[in-house]
Symmetry: C2
Subunit: 401 residues, 2 copies
């Protein structure tokens, strides 16, 4: 059941479409990827002069279905990236993962903007990824899929937009890994992006974040059912490892106080423990198990590995500035809105402050909003109401310079 | 190579001994455990009136070898509980896990005290645990080992001390799970404990900590080599799952800033990435892999499961106070020293403050020291020099009331 106020600003029922790129995508690793297909959705109308395009980029576990109701709702819903399933019962209706932000009158206002959302390169929801058929072998790539970077994702988005005849972007927006893509757009295509909205993100994940990702990947690759990545068609997949990976991720997306508020130390049954090692005793344990089980059903393990790796590699200073973030951002021409959340310990506000200071030192147009909110990294999906006026104003300022 | 200053205050070479308890240990789960053997070490001399005994309790991955050099150094050393291997090169010499704290002139001064250290119930380093033979079947317990609690561990320690003819304790001391045991001693045997030193611990693990433990157990039990816990003698053990469990634990024992200082985002090789999913790229990834590999060699997966479960169950307020911590602590007679560390996010200082306030509200003799130090939970093993004067003074005050 959709919330009525949400439905009022809904983009309605949408269908994911697919575009095949006419030329191979060159990759940072030196390989190039042929026959790339991109899954995408669009919301709103493209202006005749094509100057109202906002590209929305998703995070680790997202997909192209960012807003509205899926024409064919997936069995387990899509709005559960980063634990947002905790928020409402709408997932069963196939509501997009950022539906609260995209629609008529919303942050990314489809009465004004033509919003485009794609599944990222390496994905498992329609865009070419490790589960796709390698034309060279006729079999799924598996672990032979080339290692990709955020720059590769953005290069693919650039090539995809060409197929729609879109040259310039009014804005690129995203949270977490999506925010990394927005930053990468500003650096890689400075003359084609008017503004970026980079939320709950960083210019380079801190070592603890690198560690969490390494642990998640270890869990997947350590599962014998992973089979070196060539599990497609074997009837087995690394569900146990993926479940652990998801649980690790999930806890890092939430703050400790949020877990306290939500679960405290409440037990599953009655008022006492049952003395079991194998079964959940605490509500938080049961919740985690549920998270793992539902994620495993809808997400491909290899996509998780590749995407997780890409976001650990992302490092603007190393890649573009010989270690200097300011040098890396020197070419940025886009107006920049950064949003961070006080309780986000995976992508802490300090990273956004670093970006802000670097851009400001270069005399660039930058704005940082740190929102005081308790839900950790998940805030970028949950705190839509508080982000909306900030984003609307920022975008409006761009239209009337 | 041992540090010379450390060697100067060393208890020397020690040998782990074993005591067999004459009667079964009754357990919280309702079962009782027969034929319990306890591995232990002692340092210093027992006073003729037996009033100088300090019991030291270890944490999740520790053992009875708390101080001195092991007579037969284990291949991989023992001083790597909670990442202390990062600290010095002494592990190869089989130095005890709290050697900096126990010895002549140290915090637990063996010139004055008779320090006793045991491997906890359910352990894998000499005390009866899941790998021990079940006398009822003649085969290892495996997952048929009864689920144990911190109170069961303490009940076992009480029974063990009886075999040495020790009735009263001048102090019980420990960090983390060891601190939980100290607290449990003060509650369960109020007339037999003069003082407790509970370090980096809590009266009840917060939900995020419960979650980390659940994830670690899921990783182990999700490994097919776990075989429902009956892996002994099969030639297979859940090493992959244990490795992931250890990595999760390890990161929670360290602070994010400590990881930053230690590893930053340094790459393993040269100045650029090699574009690999399966191999470590960052130094922190390589470090984690090493941690996992060395831990798996020295620790039993089932002991990890049981001990992890015990520490999530621990909840003084629920167990003894019908939800009230003050009520639970009402019987405490021991002088209490609490030490917490500012950067410990797994056992945050607030938990120690809660205990302090509860004891203070009851008019008990309690003292809390919050040490400002950057290494996270691992501080209780690493910040020995700063804990030493606090503990020495606290213990001395008890001797001259």
């Amino acid at each position: 059941m959709a919330d009525p106020t949400r439905a009022a600003g809904s983009v309605g029922t949408v269908e994911t479409r697919y575009a095949d790129l006419p030329v191979p995508v060159p990759l940072d690793c030196g390989r190039e990827l042929p026959n790339v297909r991109v899954a995408y959705e669009t919301y709103g109308e493209l202006a005749p002069n094509r100057d109202n395009v906002i590209l929305v980029c998703h995070a680790l576990s997202g997909d192209a279905h960012a807003a509205g109701f899926a024409k064919t709702p997936p069995a387990s819903g899509t709005r559960d990236g980063f634990g947002a399933e905790a928020r409402d019962g709408a997932t069963g209706a196939g509501l997009g993962w950022w539906d609260g932000m995209i629609g008529p009158g919303k942050a990314f206002d489809t009465d004004r903007y033509f919003v485009v959302s794609t599944n990222l390169l390496g994905g498992c929801r329609g865009t070419t990824g490790p589960a796709s058929i390698d034309p060279a072998t006729g079999a799924p790539y598996g672990a032979d899929f080339p290692v990709i970077t955020v720059a590769d994702m953005v290069r693919t988005e650039r090539a995809f937009l060409d197929t729609l005849g879109i040259e310039r972007l009014a804005a690129v927006a995203g949270g977490s890994l999506g925010g990394m893509q927005a930053l990468e757009w500003a650096v890689s295509y400075p003359d084609q992006v008017d503004a970026i909205v980079a939320i709950a993100t960083t210019h380079a994940l801190h070592p603890q974040g690198v560690a969490w990702n390494a642990i998640a990947r270890s869990a997947i690759m350590g599962d014998p059912a992973w089979q070196g990545g060539q599990y497609y068609g074997t009837g087995r997949s690394p569900d146990a490892g993926m479940g652990v990976a998801r649980m690790v991720g999930h806890i890092t997306y939430l703050s400790a106080p949020a877990l306290d508020d939500k679960f405290a130390r409440r037990l599953q049954y009655a008022d006492d423990v049952r003395y079991t090692i194998t079964e959940p005793e605490f509500e938080v344990e049961n919740y985690l198990r549920h998270q793992a089980e539902s994620f495993v059903k809808r997400f491909d393990a290899n996509t998780y590995l590749y995407t997780s790796r890409a976001l650990t590699y992302f490092d603007l200073a190393r890649q573009y500035g010989a270690g200097s973030l300011a040098k890396a951002l020197d070419t940025v021409a886009a107006r920049t809105l950064l949003i961070a959340f006080s309780s986000d310990w995976l992508y802490p506000p300090q990273a956004s402050r670093d970006i802000e200071q670097a851009l400001r030192s270069l005399g660039k147009d930058v704005e940082l909003a740190v929102i005081d909110a308790p839900y950790g990294h998940d805030c970028f999906l949950l705190e839509e109401a508080r982000q909306t006026p900030i984003i609307r104003r920022f975008l409006a300022e761009g239209r009337t310079p």
